[in-house]
């Protein structure tokens, strides 16, 4: 019985971490139909921001929840202004440019901070379920993932910015004729996507191995999750993360992590084959 609870928690944490590592990418893909291959490095920058803030004496919660998203969000806006804005409508060129950007970020981080950096410890302890122990940080991450989803939903649903965003998602030309300036929307979107990635990176800082190349471990999974989900930001992301996270964690628990990884990939391949436009292309068409 206890083990069932623990495995349940693992599944939730697997889903939550997929949600967190993919959310920023999903916002950018859903709104702008471009793939940001520097996404993993945005996560890394978020983690580095938290680590550096904490070692400068900042409270860890402040560092994770405020400083990381703000810093990486601002960085995203700069990237959009200096690079992405010249490449709209060119999916592949954007991918190449952001791949280049990811190399630049890794290289610059290595040159500035070296190959390793002192990490931060988890701010929460563990707790017991019967004879099993697990980290309080796990449910905390799940709560943060849920809050993030609710936040995205609320912004999209209730604010003027969300309304504009939805209009642009549906039909960019139409939105432009209504007096919305797509350039501003795109800048804001990219910044928001980067900020979410920064937040995710900050949240991962206490439980991840923090090195300049850490982004590479996340990008493929985030990419597969987002594309598997399709272009509907919220529902696509939630359904794909839920499915892949569940399959991955169950397989990893029952067999080995290698198999867990392989079966995640195989299920992604089958999913996209069955639903060539992602889950949301089939079931959540036109929704958030």
């Amino acid at each position: 019985m206890d083990i069932a609870i623990i495995v349940g928690l693992d599944i939730i944490s697997g889903i939550a971490s997929l949600l967190l590592i993919s959310a920023g990418l999903a916002v950018i893909f859903g709104m702008m139909k471009i793939i940001n291959l520097a996404h993993g490095e945005f996560l890394m920058l978020g983690a580095y921001t938290t680590v550096l803030s904490v070692s400068a004496g900042v409270n860890i919660w402040l560092a994770m929840l405020v400083i990381s998203p703000v810093v990486v969000g601002l960085f995203g806006v700069i990237v959009e202004r200096c690079l992405i804005q010249f490449l709209y409508g060119r999916l592949v060129d954007t991918m190449l440019a952001t791949w280049g950007l990811s190399l630049v970020i890794v290289g610059a981080t290595t040159m500035i901070f070296g190959n390793t950096i002192v990490g931060v410890a988890s701010p929460l302890g563990g707790f017991s379920v019967g004879q099993y122990q697990t980290s309080l940080y796990t449910p905390f991450l799940a709560v943060m993932a849920i809050l993030l989803m609710v936040l995205i939903w609320a912004v999209m649903r209730f604010t003027r910015a969300g309304l504009i965003a939805r209009a642009v998602m549906q039909n960019p030309e139409m939105a432009a004729t209504l007096g919305v300036n797509p350039a501003k929307v795109y800048m804001a979107t990219f910044g928001a996507g980067a900020a979410i990635s920064g937040l995710a990176g900050g949240l991962l800082a206490p439980v991840a191995g923090i090195v300049p190349t850490m982004g590479a471990a996340y990008i493929a999974k985030a990419f597969i999750t987002v594309v598997g989900g399709g272009t509907s930001i919220l529902w696509g992301l939630i359904s794909a993360s839920g499915l892949f996270g569940f399959i991955n964690q169950i397989a990893a628990f029952l067999t080995t992590p290698v198999f867990g990884e392989v079966i995640l990939f195989i299920s992604a391949v089958i999913l996209i084959r069955l639903l060539p436009l992602g889950i949301s292309g089939k079931f959540f068409k036109g929704r958030l």
């Binding site: 040159m111 493929a220 594309v227 391949v269 084959r273």
Partner: protein
């Protein structure tokens, strides 16, 4: 429709290049010969993606799957047979069969665009994981141990067909690889000029219209995908032959991305472009490794960004347009024709 000008230029250029390949060992030192050999093998890989993406419109993020399968097929077969000739044949057949199965699964399922990219990328990651976990002596095919992450060392290099004791020297291996590159280039060039080539370009341009004219886009795309797999597998065999070694990193994300970079930098929708892009990037990466002032990733990344912003069409089309503009100014009758993007 025949493309007299373009094809003539390609033939003359190839003939000059072939002579260059043959006499290169007289002028450059052994190390450069070996370096050129691996660059040429990689350029064939670049051609495979340049063909299926630039002409077939299939953006495959996992072209390394076929390259890697070709490399492993060659290594395993060469170790088992002790003769490279059947190994090279297998290095083409195995990826083609894999491309046929995967292509059927994807293309007949109606998957396209970025979704197709993700499936192919994911498949290469599956192969990476699977091959990586073949350490241990139970994983062997015949006498060849797959070796997991450590890879397969000491792969027999290419010998003269029919005489497995006559191993090609580095110079001969270079001539073989260099001529193979030219042959693959010309072969694809002829293919593109053929009806098949015209049709796949038409499908790239407008799949609906092609279907409404009676062409089945799926079979054409599948064949294109398989040809790309064959070329990539062949490149894999030549790559293993160069280093006498293969390891699973051949399937990794880094190489997949690099192939795409070669094609974009060189220019999509041309065949010369991917070759140029590949040679340029490979040369640059090598040069970067000889200095320690700046981080290698940093330099490479900055160059990529610069390219996307400044030469968005890629080198070959930019040069072609420039030359065409100059020519048409001086002589309005001259038309440089090439397959346009």
């Amino acid at each position: 429709m025949p493309k007299i000008h373009g094809m003539t230029i390609a033939l003359i250029g190839s003939a000059i290049a072939a002579v260059g390949v043959m006499i290169a060992p007289l002028f450059v030192d052994l190390f450069q010969i070996m370096q050129l050999t691996v660059f040429a093998a990689m350029a064939i890989l670049a051609l495979s993606l340049g063909f299926i993406w630039g002409y077939g419109g299939i953006l495959c993020f996992g072209q390394t799957s076929f390259f890697g399968l070709g490399a492993y097929a060659y290594a395993v077969a060469a170790i088992n047979f002790g003769d490279s000739t059947p190994a090279i044949v297998l290095a083409i057949i195995v990826p083609v069969i894999f491309a046929a199965l995967l292509g059927y699964f994807i293309i007949y399922g109606g998957v396209s665009d970025v979704y197709l990219g993700v499936i192919t990328l994911t498949v290469s990651l599956i192969l990476l994981n699977l091959v990586n976990s073949t350490a241990g002596d139970v994983y062997k095919i015949g006498t060849a141990r797959l070796g997991g992450f450590n890879g397969i060392p000491g792969v027999p290099t290419i010998n003269m067909p029919g005489d497995s004791s006559y191993i090609l020297s580095p110079e001969q291996a270079w001539i073989l690889t260099g001529l193979a590159l030219i042959a693959v280039y010309l072969g694809l060039r002829v293919l593109i000029a053929s009806t098949f080539g015209r049709v796949i370009i038409a499908i790239r341009e407008n799949e609906t219209r092609a279907a409404l004219l009676g062409y089945d886009p799926r079979i054409y795309k599948l064949l294109t995908f398989m040809i790309g797999g064959a070329v990539a597998g062949f490149a894999g065999a030549l790559y293993v032959n160069w280093g006498a070694f293969v390891s699973p990193t051949i399937f990794a994300l880094g190489l997949s991305a690099q192939i795409i970079i070669w094609v974009i930098i060189g220019g999509r929708g041309t065949l010369v472009g991917p070759i140029i892009g590949c040679l340029l990037v490979q040369w640059m990466v090598t040069e970067i490794g000889s200095q320690q002032t700046l981080d290698a990733s940093f330099i490479l990344g900055a160059v990529l960004i610069g390219f996307v912003l400044l030469v968005p069409k890629g080198i070959a089309p930019t040069v072609r347009d420039f030359v065409a503009a100059r020519l048409s100014r001086s002589n309005s009758d001259t038309v440089i024709e090439d397959v346009k993007q």
